[in-house]
């Protein structure tokens, strides 16, 4: 049978590469796959910008690694994990993909990381938030880059509590992401001695959140936390302002909001909102230089997911160079040895479970008069070191951590 022969051939070539592991690239090139959402709800936080970011990383690296060309594949998974997994398998089996990046949305992230683990191909999640990627479902070749639900709760809540917000009311989107954010935030709140006055769960998605906002308003809590995302968060913030909640003195905290969300809300309605992010363009000369180039290419400033695709792709290429091969397991091990240092992440390390650990930032949305431009929306409240922000790998339950 042809297929059997083919499989035997693959096995044989695997043996050959296995023996000659240290040297050489499969297919005489490195293939980077950008699997993202170009048509659905995540198109603005990832999407075209993620592809552009990967292209920038390849170009900045010089277009070649170990003297061989770097090729970029991209696809729109349409937020459907079965399409994503079919594409991922096809990329790996037929097109020789060596690394798959972005992977926005958790169902896609988990599915493709599983395939990567099975096939020994590096997968780097930037878009998906679920912490499960580096817990029980961790793989030797799977990485999680810029943020996760754990870090969102563990940066925002302590920082806001430290600023005096000692009583909370949480409005949660009623799905796994919301639940996990709420649970993490609640445990931090209890740990820091603050009180959780109440929580309410709203269906996902909800256009009108005023009902829940009024419940939060009536609770008298000092801080109202939104454990939701995307349109739900945008509408929460807009309507909170409409119902005079901010004017009434309660502090709003979005546990997850991207730059594009804040841009969409606008400073007028968003001012004073606390947000956690792993990257903001207007931090220092390096980030500004990167973001300006990105803006020229894409027409928007990069979100933390897009910036993360840049950083993770670059780090992967550096590891290939250092390892002298594109064999997944070898490169993955190399990636974990090397510090992450580039325009986006200045000082990162990677834990055994694949979690990239770096500084996270608590931001506050500027008042309109403080802003100097369309994208100048945040001021830094507090930098939280990676060790505090991210889950201790030892507690993650990942089998790769001793």
């Amino acid at each position: 049978m042809f297929k059997k022969a083919l499989l035997a051939g693959v096995a044989a070539s695997a043996l050959i590469t296995g023996t000659a592991m240290a040297e050489g690239l499969s297919g005489d090139k490195v293939v980077v796959g950008v699997l993202t959402d170009l048509s659905g709800v995540y198109a603005d936080i990832a999407g075209k910008g993620s592809i552009a970011a990967a292209e920038m990383a390849v170009a900045d690296y010089g277009g070649t690694v170990l003297g061989k060309p770097i090729e970029i594949l991209s696809a729109d998974h349409q937020n459907k994990p079965d399409i994503a997994s079919t594409i991922a398998r096809e990329w790996i089996d037929a097109q020789g993909a060596d690394v798959i990046v972005d992977l926005v949305t958790s169902s896609v992230g988990l599915a493709v990381q599983g395939i990567g683990g099975e096939k020994g191909v590096v997968t780097i999640n930037s878009g998906a938030a679920t912490v499960r990627l580096t817990q029980k479902e961790c793989t030797a070749t799977g990485f999680h880059w810029i943020y996760d639900t754990y870090s969102l709760a563990h940066v925002t809540s302590p920082a806001v509590i430290a600023e005096g917000g000692d009583s909370w009311y949480i409005i949660t989107a009623d799905y796994a992401f919301g639940h996990s954010l709420e649970a993490d935030a609640a445990s931090v709140i209890a740990e820091k001695g603050a009180t959780l006055v109440g929580t309410v769960r709203h269906p996902f998605p909800s256009a009108d959140l005023s009902s829940y906002l009024l419940q939060a308003q009536a609770s008298g809590a000092k801080v109202i936390g939104f454990a939701n995302a995307g349109q739900d968060t945008i509408n929460s913030v807009k309507q909170a302002s409409e119902f005079g909640i901010v004017a009434g003195g309660q502090k709003l905290v979005a546990l997850l909001a991207f730059l594009s969300d804040i841009h969409s809300i606008g400073l007028e309605l968003g001012q004073g909102l606390n947000v956690t992010t792993g990257f903001y363009w207007n931090m220092d000369d390096e980030t500004r230089a990167f973001a300006e180039r990105f803006n020229e290419k894409v027409g928007r400033m990069p979100t933390m997911v897009q910036a993360s695709v840049y950083s993770s792709t670059l780090h992967y290429l550096k590891a290939v160079e250092a390892a002298g091969t594109d064999d997944g397991a070898t490169v993955a091990a190399k990636m974990k040895e090397m510090p992450v240092k580039d325009a986006v992440v200045h000082d990162g390390t990677i834990a055994a479970n694949g979690r990239m650990i770096h500084d996270m930032y608590l931001m506050e949305v500027k008042k309109p008069e403080e802003s100097t431009g369309e994208w100048d929306v945040y001021k830094l409240v507090r930098t939280v070191p990676g060790a505090e922000a991210f889950q201790d790998p030892k507690e993650s339950g990942c089998a790769l951590v001793e």
Binding site: S39, G40, V41, Y42, A43, D44, I45, D174, V200, R201, H202, P203, P205, S206, A207, D208, S210, S211, Y212, L214, Q215, Q217, A218, G230, Q231, I234, N235, K238, Q239, E242, F243, G244, G248, F258, S260, D261, H263, S264, I265, G266, E268, L269
Partner: protein
Amino acid sequence: MFELIGIPPQALFGQLLLGLINGSFYALLSLGLAVIFGMLNVINFAHGALYMLGAFVAWFLLQYLGLGYWWALVLSPVAVGAVGIVIEKTMLQRLYKLDHLYGLLFTFGLALILEGIFKHFYGVSGQSYTTPDLFKGGTNLGFMFLPYYRGWVVVLSIAVCAATWYAIEKTRLGSYLRAATENPRLVQSFGINVPVMITLTYGFGVALAGLAGVMAAPIYSVNPLMGSNLIIVVFAVVVIGGMGSIFGAVVSGYLLGLLEGLTKVFMPEAANIVVFVIMVVVLLLRPAGLFGRER
């Protein structure tokens, strides 16, 4: 102060009022659907997309022409209505001879196209549209803080629904419409141009969706997907009210808004399902809907 099942009465009033506000959108949208269905026998799946279009037109007017909310309130429904007329004239019209389900499928495809185009050019995170100056701020009613704009939405919606109901039930034009629904041939033979009437009805129905879109723009973020989930709820509202019944569509729109408002307090997790549960119950008890009659 007594409490009702653990909820203080002030909060209850607040939630009922919020329900009424949401009901205003349901009523406007289901009214448009009912008007179209009554005349064309088509369930307009593109209604949600046209609602989105209405909001976007308002945003375009502000962004590119500097025309504010009040202009949008007039121009945007007109623009959406015009789009509707073009669609009806060029495409939808060919489907009347066929099974009504083709109308449903056609408008479904249309909704996908509209959403796809806007997603492609304007992204999904949405545009912000500020509340008109006249309605900035709000007032404390004692039991809740009512933004002026939300009050305006309720007033405008009730006025438009009442006017439409009056026009269809009490005026001569309305009687032509109703007659043409019953027996188009007979009405045609009286010298009334029924095809034009159908076209205008469709235009009017979708203009109502456009109006709802403008009204929604300052409250919700203006984004390409704003209509796609709403439309299914509105479908359920129309089924509950009784398809083709104008009165039923409007009343059940407000009623379901109120009921949904209550659910958000007593059982927030079920708020998205409550409308569908009610639909099932109504269908089991009154298959033609609350105000419908068997055809």
